[in-house]
């Protein structure tokens, strides 16, 4: 019996999404072809686009399908920067947060390294939140030279939810477009494009029970974007590549189902998360919570995010021992060749490198149950004791 507690990495596909995927995978048809089969494929794509738009509060024409969140982030950051700078050579700056996912972080760093961009990083507080006042201060100084502001909706490691609507409003005061990577918020937060004020928003299917390999950049119709993939221009002349009809279909079904159940599901998962954290802190093992946690809070922190800092342990020891005990989770940070690196998010939040090495992210989702929480709490004492014995070997 294994306990899957890594929903922030990817969450199991919903049965209805699998059904939709299989149904469309059985039909031939390039959505750009003009014959009957092509029109049928196009119809599936456009109906899916409408369903996704309805679920996220945007217009169908604002949905640009991509291969996933990473591509959407790359398109948003690089595409906006290039288009804005092309229109106004003075706009060379990107403002972003130091707790972004690498898809944004590394896109920004690419622009700095290879394209001569400037960057201002918004630093988080100890909870992982960035402050609207900090953005206001940066734009007061650099507003006229800024091409884009990009701040994630919710952090993938510690679950900190950012004040996206306020940040977007500040960016707009300076005439700067605002992008947000919302992939972590989709499953449990009331993410809506229209209400957010964002000009660009990254979404992806596999965090809501759809397949890996499909996502979208929601882009206002007036958002200026330079294409990053060139070719047939299938998606609004901004993104090229033959559309993956079954994946798009399954994405729409999964998103629709997730959004319909979202409020109820968020409360359920929040209850499990709080029980997990209360239990873990009560074990007397010196475990602390990464970021800020208030029982019952699913607004400042993602309802499904439980992040533990276990002093004196290496993340890879914790992972191995929990895996052996049937608990599948993550250190939360990026891996290089399978080696967890000390989290840039925790470091930015003021944790020491030693603390950052003992991080453990347990993320809950639609298949999570009380039994999963019980299994973690039962395994932790032995796991932490053993991992501490192994801790000194670095």
């Amino acid at each position: 019996m294994t306990h899957y507690l890594d929903h922030a990495a990817t969450t199991p596909m919903l049965p209805a999404a699998i059904e939709a995927f299989v149904e469309s995978a059985g039909s031939v048809g390039n959505a750009s072809s003009l014959h009957t089969a092509g029109r049928a494929a196009r119809r599936t794509v456009e109906e899916s686009r409408e369903r996704i738009a309805a679920a996220l509060g945007c217009r169908p024409s604002e949905v640009v399908f991509t291969s996933g969140g990473t591509e959407a982030d790359n398109l948003a950051v690089k595409g906006t920067w290039a288009a804005r700078r092309g229109a106004d050579p003075a706009r060379t700056r990107v403002v972003s947060s130091s707790v972004e996912h690498h898809a944004v972080l590394d896109s920004v760093e690419h622009l700095v390294r290879s394209r001569g961009a400037q960057v201002s990083w918004l630093e988080p507080d100890r909870c992982g939140h960035v402050a609207t006042g900090d953005l206001r201060a940066v734009l007061a100084e650099h507003g006229a030279s800024t091409a884009l502001v990009s701040v994630m909706w919710a952090n993938n490691e510690v679950g900190a939810v950012q004040p996206v609507a306020e940040l977007a409003a500040v960016a707009h005061e300076h005439g700067v477009p605002f992008h947000t990577d919302a992939v972590q918020g989709l499953a449990h937060l009331p993410v809506r494009f229209d209400a957010s004020g964002a000009d660009l928003m990254t979404v992806t299917a596999h965090k809501v029970g759809g397949p890996v390999g499909v996502g979208a950049l929601l882009a206002r119709r007036d958002a200026a974007l330079e294409p990053q993939l060139h070719g047939g221009g299938q998606e609004r002349q901004v993104r090229s590549g033959t559309l993956d009809v079954p994946a798009v279909h399954a994405f729409a079904v999964a998103l629709e189902e997730t959004v319909a159940a979202r409020d109820v599901e968020a409360k359920r998962v929040l209850g499990l998360r709080d029980r997990l954290l209360e239990g873990a802190l009560g074990l007397g093992l010196g475990i602390t919570v990464g970021g800020c946690w208030h029982p019952g809070d699913g607004e400042q922190r993602l309802p499904g995010n439980a992040h533990l800092v276990v002093p004196g342990c290496e993340g890879d020891s914790l992972l191995y021992l929990l895996d052996a005990a049937g608990v599948e989770c993550s250190t939360g940070s990026a891996c290089q060749a399978g080696v967890p690196q000390p989290s840039h998010v925790l470091l930015a939040m003021g944790h020491s490198e030693a603390e950052a090495r003992g991080a453990l992210r347990l993320s809950l989702g639609h298949t999570s149950t009380d039994a999963d929480v019980d299994a973690v709490l039962a395994a932790l004492p032995g796991v932490v004791e053993r991992a501490r014995q192994a801790g000194g070997s670095r």
């Binding site: 290496e314 992972l319 191995y320 060749a337 080696v339 014995q389 192994a390 070997s393 670095r394």
Partner: protein
């Protein structure tokens, strides 16, 4: 038993892991990340450090159906192996980093971590045998004389040996490759690793110069004491070396010149003719015994480099030093090298050479 199989991504460690599994052990594959800049793909296999090697190891573990993890020992490796290597060269000595890695990483950092996590030992793809002897486990040469790696394991002490498994010691390399192919491992035809894994391009002198900078000094004739040239740092030289001296042949006698000694404190490289290279007395320190330490004068065999010949020898062992008298002169033995002592096929122990000389 619960065993960590150290999987480098090469053919040997793959078959070793498979054999441990076949023998009924509970096996977990672990690839050691030894370099922080692992995000590279290289053409040649050098036994560690590349993404491709980690991927190859993972694919073997998948095939075997065993769990697989990458453990980050890069900091320990940097400190205990790479920095040790650099400092040894800076001090005018010639270290063997593979021995240090076995002593301090594979059978120390990795083994300690494995034991702490509840494992009973570590298995590797080294060619050497562990046999039960009258006073505990003994380390012996492998059956395949061409692949025997007991030399680089000569630094293991009895405690380390008690937790070590070498499932390939009884096999010929060709048979291991054959077995890997039969097991369907994609690494069956992967070339053997050579050279020093952390010197990516094989250019040791360039690597050392990047780490140490240029430290110019004089080339001095070992007999006359005359200055015969200049060099960019003693770390570029090792006893027995002929190339890179800038002295093709002496103008005096037309004989080739070799490095015959390195005087690091004075930044001097001593050069001389081939006849100065032969030595038959070795002083050694940093003694490591694979079993009960010998005492007094004992007759043994001695090997001074990984693929060198064994030479009959007698060793006089004191508390912390050993004096080895070789049965014949051996060329090109440098301080820093390890001398491994054998009794028949059994490894008795090892020492790091601190000085060499000739018996009168």
């Amino acid at each position: 038993m619960r065993v960590v199989a150290a999987m480098s991504g090469g053919v040997d460690s793959a078959v070793a892991a498979a054999r441990m599994l076949d023998a009924g052990h509970d096996v977990v594959g672990v690839h050691l990340a030894l370099s922080r800049s692992a995000a590279t793909l290289r053409e040649s296999a050098r036994g560690c450090c590349t993404l491709e090697d980690a991927g190859d190891a993972r694919r073997v573990a998948d095939r075997l159906g065993i769990p697989f993890y990458v453990w980050d020992l890069a900091e320990r490796f940097e400190r205990d192996v790479v920095e040790d290597f650099v400092q040894e060269y800076a001090a005018g000595r010639t270290p063997n980093p593979c021995l240090r890695c076995n002593e301090r990483i594979k059978f120390a950092a990795l083994l300690d971590k494995a034991l702490a996590l509840g494992f009973d030992g570590v298995a590797t793809g080294h060619y050497a045998r562990v046999l039960e002897g009258p006073s505990g486990r003994e380390l012996h040469r492998a059956v395949d004389p061409d692949k025997d790696q007991s030399y680089v394991l000569g630094v293991l002490d009895a405690d380390q040996l008690a937790r070590a498994f070498f499932p390939l010691g009884g096999s010929l390399k060709a048979a291991v490759r054959q077995e890997a192919a039969e097991r369907g491992f994609a690494v069956a035809r992967k070339p053997d690793s050579h050279d020093i894994c952390f010197v990516a391009d094989g250019d040791t002198r360039g690597f050392l110069t990047r780490r140490l900078g240029e430290r110019p000094g004089e080339l001095v004739d070992a007999v006359s004491g005359k200055v015969v040239g200049e060099h960019a740092g003693v770390h570029g030289f090792t006893v027995g070396q002929r190339r890179g001296l800038g002295l093709e042949r002496s103008r005096l006698d037309g004989e080739p010149r070799y490095v015959v000694g390195v005087d690091a404190p004075r930044a001097r490289v001593l050069v001389g003719t081939a006849d100065l290279l032969g030595v038959d007395v070795l002083e050694g320190a940093h003694l490591r015994w694979c079993g009960p330490p010998p005492w007094g004068e004992v007759v043994l065999g001695a090997q001074v480099r990984a693929h060198g010949e064994e030479v009959p020898a007698s060793a006089t062992v004191a508390e912390e030093v050993v004096r080895v008298r070789l049965g014949r002169r051996v060329r090109g033995v440098a301080p820093g090298q390890s001398v491994v002592l054998y009794e028949g096929s059994r490894v008795v122990g090892s020492a790091t050479v601190t000085a060499t000389s000739r018996a009168a």
